[in-house]
């Protein structure tokens, strides 16, 4: 006797699959929030002259949530969260795409900066053209600059086996210097007291919703669809995933790992460049020499939490974007430094990487492993070959 294929078990198996995918990240997030609460309680002991408030963690988290989401009629807090999410989403897609191919793009930071300066440079050129020409041109400038900054480590790895972890970290610093030199040199407004570029004018993204909700939000959301399609619906995406999961199999199947490496890194760079483009065209409209960002490193956290999957990255970037956006209200109303978000972010990752321990503790047999890295970075780091042999 076989059981009839009723819809109920199917729904249950879908739920089980969903649980398998999300159990580890969810447990990591909950545990990190608990650790954060303990840290807040402990830090109360450090702040002098205040009565000990056992409910401070709750107050802090409520303020964090309020800052990120707000109360229903107000739309601006949510828009603020989305604006903070967009660069994290694009950066996370960049790092995650690299992960899928077995490449560790620590260079999102530099590619972001180059994207920002590229978008400003292109935007200034066309600042008085109609928006329908100026915006695509400026976006192209930003993505191209980012793509070049991703292409360099890609071609170096393909030709000489120089590991992308080392070269992209170095390129991050080169990008900082190059950025400052360009802002103070060719792009500087003459006679300004400190280096600043002109405004991008008509190349600025139009505001679509609320305070500062610019076109970049839609572009970032669109990128999720494009990357999902590219990874799972095209031959190129299949080759990228194969090369990441099993480089030997990819080679035996006649794929060209070197070409894949260069193309993947250039796409990673273009995505991170698009993140920088969005920040500049959507929010800043010009840059100064003190322009800085932590998006590049936050992106690594986003990609790891999102399991390198475009949809997972969307949720992970929403979480971190909401925390970044809500942190200032938490700092004002609960007196907890906004840097708590960095601590939470790191704690989430720690719990994710300590997967074997979590599995034992929570008896998660079916759950997928927490950090879904191809496990080839360190191997290629030392073999001197573009792909591990």
């Amino acid at each position: 006797m076989t059981a009839p294929a009723a819809p109920v078990p199917r729904a249950r198996s879908l739920l089980r699959r969903l649980w398998a995918l999300t159990a580890q990240p969810l447990i990591a997030i909950v545990l990190a929030l608990l650790v954060g609460a303990v840290i807040i309680l402990a830090s109360e002991l450090v702040i002098p002259g205040q009565p000990f408030d056992p409910l401070l963690p709750a107050r802090a988290y409520i303020a964090l949530l309020q800052g990120a989401i707000g109360l229903p009629p107000a739309v601006n807090p949510i828009v603020g969260t989305l604006v903070a999410t967009a660069p994290l989403l694009l950066g996370g897609l960049s790092v995650g795409f690299g992960f899928k191919a077995g490449l560790f793009n620590i260079g999102a930071q530099g590619q972001f900066l180059m994207g920002a300066i590229g978008a400003v440079a292109a935007g200034i050129l066309v600042s008085s053209q109609p928006s329908s020409i100026a915006i695509p041109f400026a976006i192209a400038g930003g993505m191209l600059a980012g793509a070049i900054w991703g292409f360099i480590p890609g071609i170096l790895k393909a030709l000489s086996g120089a590991h992308e972890v080392v070269t992209t970290i170095m390129l991050n610093y080169v990008a900082i210097s190059l950025f400052a030199a360009i802002v103070a040199g060719p792009l500087a407004v003459p006679g300004a007291p400190s280096p600043i570029t002109p405004d991008v004018g008509n190349a600025a993204y139009p505001i679509l919703i609320g305070r500062g909700g610019h076109l970049g939000l839609l572009i970032a959301l669109g990128a999720v669809g494009v990357m999902g399609w590219l990874l799972y619906r095209t031959t190129f995406g299949f080759e990228v995933r194969t090369a990441g999961a099993n480089p030997d199999a990819a080679r035996y199947a006649g794929m060209r790992p070197r070409v894949l490496i260069v193309a993947t890194m250039a796409i990673c760079g273009a995505l991170a460049g698009l993140a920088g483009t969005g920040d500049v065209l959507g929010t800043q409209h010009h840059v100064t020499s003190s322009y800085g960002t932590t998006v590049g490193f936050d992106s690594i956290a986003v990609a790891l939490l999102g399991g390198s999957n475009p949809v997972g990255i969307l949720f992970a970037s929403l979480l971190f974007g909401a925390m970044r956006s809500g942190a200032s209200l938490m700092q004002i109303s609960a007196g907890i430094p906004a840097q708590l978000v960095d601590v939470l972010q790191a704690t989430i990752l720690l719990f994710l990487i300590a997967t074997p321990v979590l599995r034992r503790l929570f008896r998660l047999r079916g759950a997928k492993s927490g950090i879904d890295a191809p496990g080839t970075f360190t191997k290629t780091y030392v073999s001197g070959e573009p792909t591990p042999s």
């Binding site: 702040i47 490193f297 030392v382």
Partner: protein, 358 residues
């Protein structure tokens, strides 16, 4: 002699290159002490890298380890100094509080390294991800605590002072500036050369060094002759972390007397680059760190001792950012093998799994 030099400088283009090198030789005694000071945290970070990677563990968490040490050294000094009031001793301005803070900084760095060791050796997590997480965590925790503490505007416990070498020694012609370079320094900077030489000897001439290199090249073979791979790797990562801790302490307790958020500013990564260029040897890495520091020294000396004539004009027209970026560009060129190959230990970065014993 002067005639020859003038003739050399007269050659078009190449003459300017000669003149540039002549200028560098001229300002060397002046900038050498600065160079060593800049190179100190880089060198110590590179030593951490050498000790870890020689035993087969990639550690890109050096940056975070240094940051934690810098913070702990500063904050322990702040807390302890009022408890043990003491006048700074004439040698290096040492106070008991500073010593306790230094030990705390090195210890804290050892603990951070222990976390990396546990993640990458015991849990066999990807070592580069583990190191990245250490960096993110260190930045977050130190930034959070610093923000919390700086509300009460704490007073620093001060910093280690510089030794002033006797004038007669410094004024010896030709070699006097070398004494000035190595002796006109605080205790951490002064001991860097000693640490480098001791590590070089230990790594290549001692039992510990042989074991370290063996488990970094071929752990399985090492295990068959009775070396406990896991234990030696743990020990090396912690020792390396403590060296990074000394580097962090140098930042907040010797080169400055305060802590700023993210004050390591990439020095841990430059240390790794120095290690690669120095081909995983302590002396080589020290040389590379000095080379990196020289780039900064040149850019400083150009502004305070501008060479005369055309050379000065050319050097002044180079944006300062070029000198900032130069070490990183050099690293990329070397890593890409454009100037000779740099080959890491064979088992570097590979988690070791003991075979099941019957």
């Amino acid at each position: 002699m002067d005639g020859l030099i003038n003739a050399l400088y007269g050659i078009p283009v190449a003459g300017l290159v000669f003149e540039f090198f002549g200028y560098l030789l001229g300002v060397l005694p002046l900038v050498a002490p600065i160079m060593l000071r800049v190179a100190t945290p880089l060198t110590l970070a590179a030593m951490c890298g050498v000790v870890c990677e020689r035993s087969g563990v990639v550690n890109i968490g050096i940056e975070g380890t240094m940051l934690v040490a810098a913070f702990v050294g500063w904050i322990v000094g702040v807390v302890v100094a009022p408890m043990i009031p003491a006048d700074p001793s004439p040698i290096f301005g040492i106070t008991p509080a500073l010593l306790i803070a230094f030990v705390a900084a090195v210890g804290a760095a050892g603990l951070v390294a222990l976390l990396h060791a546990w993640l990458s050796i015991s849990l066999r997590a990807d070592q580069i991800i583990s190191g990245t997480i250490v960096n993110i965590a260190a930045f977050g925790v130190t930034g959070y605590l610093n923000e919390l503490i700086s509300k009460s505007s704490p007073t620093s416990a001060g910093a280690f002072g510089q030794f002033v070498p006797p004038k007669a020694l410094v004024e010896i012609p030709l070699v006097g500036w070398l004494f000035n370079m190595f002796l006109n320094q605080g205790p951490i900077t002064m001991s860097v050369l000693v640490i480098v030489i001791v590590l070089q000897i230990l790594l290549f001439r001692s039992r510990w060094g042989l074991r370290t290199r063996a488990i970094g090249e071929h752990p399985k073979a090492a295990e068959t002759v009775g070396i406990d791979v896991i234990r030696v790797r743990y020990r090396n990562v912690v020792i390396g972390g403590m060296l990074a801790g000394v580097a962090g302490a140098a930042l907040s307790m010797e080169l400055t007397n305060s802590f700023q958020e993210g004050m390591t500013a990439g020095r841990g990564f430059i240390g790794l680059a120095a290690m690669i260029i120095g081909r995983w040897t302590p002396l080589g890495a020290f040389g590379a760190a000095l080379l990196f520091a020289s780039s900064q020294a040149i850019s400083q000396s150009i502004t305070f001792a501008t060479p005369p004539g055309q050379l000065g004009d050319i050097l002044l027209s180079i944006p300062g950012q070029f000198w900032d970026a130069l070490p990183y560009i050099v690293t990329i060129v070397v890593v890409a093998g454009l100037i000779g190959r740099s080959t890491p230990p064979a088992a570097d970065g590979q988690p070791y799994e003991r075979e099941a014993t019957a």
